[in-house]
């Protein structure tokens, strides 16, 4: 009797275990899928080209507003941070979020190799899970002393935006 009881209990546990593992896997997949979908950069990979300058002054900065962020409101007040990876950086690149539907633009952020995550949009309202957009305004600048791409190569930034709780 005791052996039967033990055997019967042992049959039930694998099912419970399988169910638990399935739930965990589903939760993990859901989390990963959700993380991917909550924010996206649109408009491709822009190139900013500085081509002219003033004698006695400096090269003329170039502005690009061809890309944007699309992000979703969350259950908590959220913010978007930015960071970049650009080994061997020579020139200056800044970003400012404009035309923001939800949230508040942080001051213009200078992007540089080794920087910490820095706020670019804050106070994104919670709830509603509404999709919203912001224009990314990139400004590239250089001094004459910074040199040129023919001698130093281009600056190629991998710019990462992260949507997170504030």
């Amino acid at each position: 009797m005791r052996a039967k009881k033990g055997h019967s209990s042992g049959m039930r546990k694998p099912w419970r275990l399988a169910c638990l593992l399935s739930v965990c896997l589903l939760a993990l997949a859901s989390t990963l899928s959700e993380a991917h979908a909550q924010i996206s950069v649109r408009g491709g990979n822009p190139t900013l080209s500085i081509t002219t300058g003033f004698p006695g002054s400096e090269p003329i900065p170039v502005v690009n507003v061809a890309t944007s962020l699309r992000y979703r409101r969350q259950a908590q007040i959220a913010k978007i941070t930015v960071t970049t990876s650009c080994p061997g950086q020579s020139f200056t690149l800044k970003v400012l979020a404009t035309n923001i539907d939800q949230g508040v633009a942080a001051p213009e952020v200078t992007l540089f190799q080794g920087m910490l995550d820095t706020d670019v949009i804050t106070n994104i309202p919670s709830a509603g899970f509404v999709w919203t957009n912001a224009t990314l305004q990139y400004t590239a600048s250089a001094t004459f002393a910074d040199g040129n791409s023919a001698e130093l190569g281009n600056d190629v930034h991998t710019v990462t935006y992260t949507l997170q709780v504030q």
């Binding site: 275990l17 959700e34 500085i50 081509t51 090269p59 590239a140 004459f144 002393a145 023919a150 949507l163």
Partner: protein
């Protein structure tokens, strides 16, 4: 039996719950909803720009102040300046004139350059002469001092120069 026990027993169940709870805790602690990246490229062209601050310079030798018995007469103008910007290394600024067979001598020297090194005064000719050296990757300015020189024996006349400044290697 041993395999069944370890699979269905408490240690495995506890470990699974621990992993699951760690995931939940981690998600709650990081509070990251998602991220995305793109590539932004900055290119800077080779830029060499140069500009003379003012318009024409006129040097007139009138004979005023000329010492009797002295053949050489000269006049000086220091009213113009030169501005430049270059983002290339190892650059210099040269100067030349378009006038072939000038009657009189026109000399030029750069004064007080904010960047680079001024060369000694040059006599303008159709061949480019160095005015400033070591101006690579700078934005700067200097004053231009022109000196017109005539000998009494050269008589009278007018030379009209178009003076060209060039940033070069």
């Amino acid at each position: 039996m041993a395999y069944t026990r370890s699979l269905c027993g408490r240690p495995v169940l506890a470990a699974t719950l621990l992993v699951a709870s760690m995931g939940v805790v981690q998600r709650a602690a990081a509070q990251v909803y998602g991220s995305d990246s793109h590539t932004v490229t900055v290119t800077v062209a080779t830029i060499n720009v140069i500009q003379v601050s003012a318009g024409s310079v006129s040097l007139t030798i009138t004979g005023a102040g000329v010492v009797a018995g002295q053949d050489q007469m000269s006049v000086v103008d220091q009213s113009t300046s030169l501005l430049w910007g270059t983002n290339s290394s190892n650059r210099k600024i040269t100067v030349s004139t378009n006038l072939v067979g000038a009657l009189f001598t026109l000399r030029l020297v750069a004064l007080n350059p904010t960047q680079g090194t001024a060369m000694p005064e040059v006599v303008l000719s159709t061949v480019a002469n160095d005015l400033l050296v070591n101006v690579g990757r700078t934005s700067g300015s200097c004053m231009l001092r022109y000196t017109g020189v005539a000998l009494a024996s050269q008589g009278t006349g007018t030379d009209s120069h178009t003076v060209t400044f060039t940033i070069s290697n």
